[in-house]
Symmetry: C2
Subunit: 376 residues, 2 copies
């Protein structure tokens, strides 16, 4: 194996793949990055027990030569130190293996020799199956998972709730997450006849969010023996799936609201944020909402700190004017912060029924459900 490569391209790719690698692993070889050098370019692979990231560096990017392969081969190098070293080297880098466990790196008058691992010991990639194969714009995928991932359960009591449930079918991709106290739902149209349901660990979802951006273009989603694969032109992310049946959440949503409010999102976020300050964690971050004199009253308090009360305009109201409910203010904030729209709809069905947050428009592509807390 022998190649030259531009430092900036190599360094960026290594650090992207390195995100999957944990330095604390029982198998030393998994603390490494696998490099596969072929005529067409260089493939880097990093993995842990939850995800595998594969990144391809083509020899040419936009017609410009960034890597020149002189001899093919594979090796595994320490993710942490190799990535740090490449980051600190200037200009063009020459890489060459001495044997299948030692690698020589040279840049100008800097010469280093690095211990690696035999690539044959590195685990092989999961095999892709044909059960599902859809394409979705990166932007839409990102939006769907960003709108939901925060609502996954932290506790491992029901492992299936620690993931985001992605359902594909009926020309839709639906993302749902719930920790049984709140629920977040988001759907997007996709043109497909495939059907499938996957529960993806929130940690993988967060890595995926870091790897794709609005310039990424289309993301291809495929399934592969216990894994789901998100694939873009340059990067493939395999995520382990969580086994088990995801609960049917549709039945939880109250159908007939007693009161529907149309509210400006930004002042509401700021008001809830202030109220949270007075609602200590020792009381479930208890924030009260009520209607008083055609206004929304947000209040909170604790005997230790003091009290806060503020009034906000209601842009439109339907149904009963009688309203008094207490919710976890942080749950409200989490939901409101994922929304981009200036106005939102809040639906109330009584002080012991969940609050629903939806788009102000006719058809909402998202929905947030938040259970009330007892305030007395």
């Amino acid at each position: 194996m022998k190649f030259t490569i531009e430092q900036d391209v190599f360094s960026k790719a290594l650090s992207e793949v390195g995100k999957a690698v944990s330095s604390r692993t029982l198998l030393p070889i998994l603390s490494g990055i696998k490099m596969i050098v072929e005529e067409e370019g260089i493939t880097l692979i990093g993995s842990n027990s939850d995800i595998i990231i594969e990144r391809f560096i083509p020899s040419k990017i936009n017609g410009k030569v960034v890597a020149e392969v002189l001899q093919t081969g594979t090796i595994v190098v320490s993710a942490r130190y190799f990535t740090e070293l490449i980051k600190k080297l200037p200009g063009q880098i020459h890489v060459e293996t001495i044997n299948n466990q030692t690698i020589k790196i040279q840049s100008g008058e800097i010469k280093t020799q690095f211990n690696g691992f035999n690539a044959e010991e590195y685990p092989i990639l999961p095999l892709i199956d044909d059960s599902i194969n859809i394409h979705i714009p990166a932007e839409e995928l990102k939006e769907a998972i960003k709108h939901t991932v925060f609502a996954t359960a932290r506790s491992e009591t029901r492992p299936v709730l620690t993931g985001v449930n992605l359902t594909i079918g009926d020309n839709k991709l639906v993302a749902v997450a719930t920790d049984s106290q709140r629920l977040a739902f988001k759907e997007r149209r996709v043109a497909t006849k495939d059907k499938g349901s996957f529960v993806i660990p929130s940690s993988s979802i967060n890595e995926l969010l870091k790897l794709i951006n609005n310039d990424t273009g289309l993301v291809e989603i495929q399934s592969a023996e216990g894994y789901i694969l998100f694939k873009t032109e340059e990067i493939s992310l395999y995520s382990r799936l969580i086994a088990g049946n995801y609960p049917n959440t549709a039945s939880l949503i109250p159908s007939e609201p007693k009161t529907t409010l149309l509210l400006s999102r930004e002042p509401l976020v700021k008001g809830i944020d202030r109220a949270c300050l007075f609602a200590g964690e020792w009381k479930n971050n208890n924030v009260s909402l009520s209607i008083e004199g055609q206004k929304l009253c947000i209040s909170s308090g604790s005997s230790e700190m003091g009290t806060i009360q503020e009034f906000q305009d209601i842009r439109h109201m339907e149904g009963e004017e009688e309203l008094k409910i207490s919710v976890d203010g942080h749950f409200l904030l989490d939901a409101l912060k994922t929304i981009n729209e200036a106005e939102i709809k809040m639906k109330f069905s009584g002080s012991m029924k969940p609050v629903v947050i939806e788009s102000a428009g006719e058809e909402s592509s998202y929905l947030h459900l938040i259970s009330p807390v007892r305030a007395f």
Copy 2:
């Protein structure tokens, strides 16, 4: 007590004073900020066992009214929550005490009530004495302590070494720090007949660095019963002093170097940084320097990771060309990074004698001393 104040001015001042306040304190009142409201403006005080920060908000800043005092008074409020609240309020803020332990804050349609502490229980400020009173430009003070504070000892074995020794006398201010393996020294001219020597905890020095900047103007330094006071127009920082005699460090500096090298600082920093990567902490970050063929050779290695070797140009050399020494690479980096100059002088007196780093110019206002480590 009753006043109105601009939110941004109040919020900034509170967070500056809050830096001195620890939420983990045995005396609950010390988790608070003391507010003293007088005709001329509002004084805020925050403190912990090491430092006291006092900040004055005048009624007018640059001719613009920022605070209007309607009734004088004092109270102590929770630093953490009060500061957070003020940060989250919009526009102009009205503050009023209900009694000497409760405070009302209002901003538009937002009303809050806050529990405080009786200000009489708050400790009084140390009394200023006349033993020392000098003025120094903020920029110069900042430079003197930035050049030295990193070399203070982490271990509490000799408490006096955990601080920076500031000596005033002979129209000079001298800052020295040492952890007994390395030493940093920086001097500045000041016009004064006063004399004094103070050992200031590194934590206080770091707070001071955050509070003053190059726009601060002059800093007044005064002493006050076990404390040293750094005072600018708006802020006073009292730091506890460390008791004990600071060692005489002048004798440690080797007088007759065998080899003197003139080197470019930036490439040297980068080279040492790369070498540190291969010099694990388990070996004192052992980096070797030697002269080979009129060039400086920087090398390092470990059996676990591999080896690195690079050559750098020497801009000028005096004395013996025979040189081989090993030092803690991180100590070298710490020293080199505080220097702003493009060129530096390194003096060597043998492989078991400390390395000296000085300015390339005739008279150096700084000096770094780094003990060698055994490389075999």
